[in-house]
Subunit: 327 residues, 2 copies
DNA sequence: ATCTATATGTCAACCGGTTGACATATTCAT
DNA sequence: ATGAATATGTCAACCGGTTGACATATAGAT
């Protein structure tokens, strides 16, 4: 560090290292990037100077020239949710192992925020984006030739989507309730207007119900849905919630109404995150392969970044049925 | 977008806009940044060109010149934890409202990772860092004159630390167990070698215990601590866990041993995150003011970024005792 | 001694913006 | 008509790296 004048402290830059080592700027850059012929003596002088000055290359300057930032944008509703928290953890982790860093965007399910984040990421020249936000109709996703992968979320018809096998999950959840003898099974799901593969959970639920000659009934998440559900269906004896938090709310409401779980009412959720397994281990649920989803998403993104082609658009990973004490 | 040759597609740049609008590069920059005198006619021409070409300024180039990236680095153990997930959500959110973006780093409690992340953030020229990672002795935190704020974590003696009132939390938790009639109360905590204000939870526990003429006993988190705790203390009737996930594990083990909660054994946790409140609402806990912590941390960071001085180093925010069914 | 191949290093343009210094045009007062 | 003030815009240097083109030195071959 070198003082220019009071208060202003200049960061060490390449030229300082070059001066110290008694070589040119280029030589230092060559040494640091291992390019061209450099004698051991020079190499060492440079490394000593770098060490001595504690030089940290300015990635911004580097990025500008090489037109690559090694930054991936992540757009998800919120880290304050066990599923996304766990997913983002793995995504960040894997990115890091590939030498990429991660700009985090919590879109909070708001289309305007998502759009702004997308623009911001483009201005920041990110090398790719992984999005699992919950909005549709962001046309910006289409006309960018930017590496992009969706998680549980259709972004545009040519953009790969990675998700768990939602249909199978919905099927297994519903089947479990039926096998356990439930007669009136209700499903709680997010709005079907969101174009997400998670809608397949509902589809599977309806298919299985019909196959077994039951009448499917789905409630859409919203204010007081759970209370309404219980009020309108006093005899409900099986509930398939499309995520574990909803399932937890169902359980709470059931307790409030003195419904005994699993005797009077069986409940199964969806996600099976680590946090849920710890906080609510008795919950039956469909566990998503979160790490595998993250792995695949990054793999597909890296392929795009490296210009390799990949025709497959939809990717489904196997889920796992966890039978707990709530069924 | 303008094709240079096959496959390569050049992003629209300032010069393209200038050409389109029939003015110079400077003029476009002036219009976009509202500097100097620009006639309405010129201004409009430029805006039209920007619109037409869908121009997105390259923030990398801009950052390089103005020496400011509007990026804040966040270093925390993992988003896959309800407390950090919620905290990071708020931090990102508030940053966004100030026009800053966030580079996320999951240090996983590993000192080497934390150190590497720190270096990476410096190379990326972040404007500031908020760290709540769980290691000590990262000397790099000291000699950087970089805006820095710790959350629940001492980084260096001049770096502000924001935390909840851990002493008060520990006191209230312990006192509650005593008030409820517990005679043998045990505390489970992280390693005291981590220099975190969270150690005050333990200190308060010990102080309150002694005041009440009880013998304090603390177990450090590790393999099978909980089983060991029960094995070694068959008569334990109160457990104060230093976070809610541990409390949940305690509850699970207690059930396995057919200990009735709260009759035979009372349990209280710490954190009281939204996720815990949903998944395990019956848990008694000390709730941290997560959003307020985030607010204050960002406020302190912004002060540093703007060069304002702030003598206070330690900041404590009030916690809230939530009495649930486990006590 | 001359020529070529191999090492080693320097120069200067470039990435895409920003901005101080400067040039020109227009308006207004004297 | 002249000078000063105001309006409008251009030029070129700069941010801190990277890299192709080029210069020089040394070694080895003929």
């Amino acid at each position: 560090m070198r003082k220019i004048n009071e208060n202003e402290i200049q960061k060490v830059k390449l030229d300082d290292v070059a001066d110290k080592a008694g070589v040119s700027r280029t030589t230092v850059s060559r040494v640091l990037n291992n390019r061209g012929y450099i004698s051991d003596k020079t190499r060492q002088k440079v490394h000593e100077a770098v060490e001595l000055l504690n030089y940290q290359p300015n990635e911004i300057a580097r990025s500008l020239f090489i037109k690559k930032t090694f930054i991936i944008g992540l757009i998800f509703p919120t880290t304050n949710n066990p599923f996304y928290g766990q997913l983002i953890f793995h995504l960040e982790n894997i990115c890091e192992s590939f030498g990429y860093r991660v700009l985090l965007c919590n879109s909070q399910g708001r289309e305007d925020k998502e759009r702004n984040y997308l623009k911001m990421l483009l201005r920041h020249q990110v090398d790719g984006i992984i999005a699992g936000a919950h909005n549709r109709g962001i046309e910006e996703y289409n006309n960018q030739h930017l590496p992009l992968v969706g998680i549980d979320r259709f972004l545009s018809k040519n953009i790969p989507v990675v998700s768990s096998d939602n249909y199978d999950g919905g099927k297994k959840a519903t089947q479990l309730l039926i096998d356990k003898g439930c007669k009136q099974i209700i499903h709680i799901n997010g709005s079907p207007s969101l174009e997400t593969p998670a809608n397949l959970r509902r589809e599977a639920y309806e298919d299985v119900m019909k196959e077994n000659e039951f009448h499917p009934r789905t409630y859409i998440i919203g204010d007081n849905v759970i209370e309404k559900l219980f009020d309108e269906n006093p005899n409900v004896d099986g509930i398939f919630a499309s995520d574990d938090l909803i399932a937890a709310n169902v359980i709470r409401e059931a307790k409030r109404r003195n419904r005994n779980i699993p005797d009077d009412l069986k409940v199964i959720g969806y996600d099976g995150t680590e946090t849920t397994r710890i906080l609510l281990p008795e919950l039956s649920t469909i566990q998503q392969p979160v790490k595998e989803i993250a792995d695949l998403a990054i793999k597909l993104l890296m392929k795009q970044i490296n210009g390799e082609s990949e025709p497959q658009i939809e990717w489904k990973l196997p889920i796992k049925l966890i039978k707990g004490e709530t069924t």
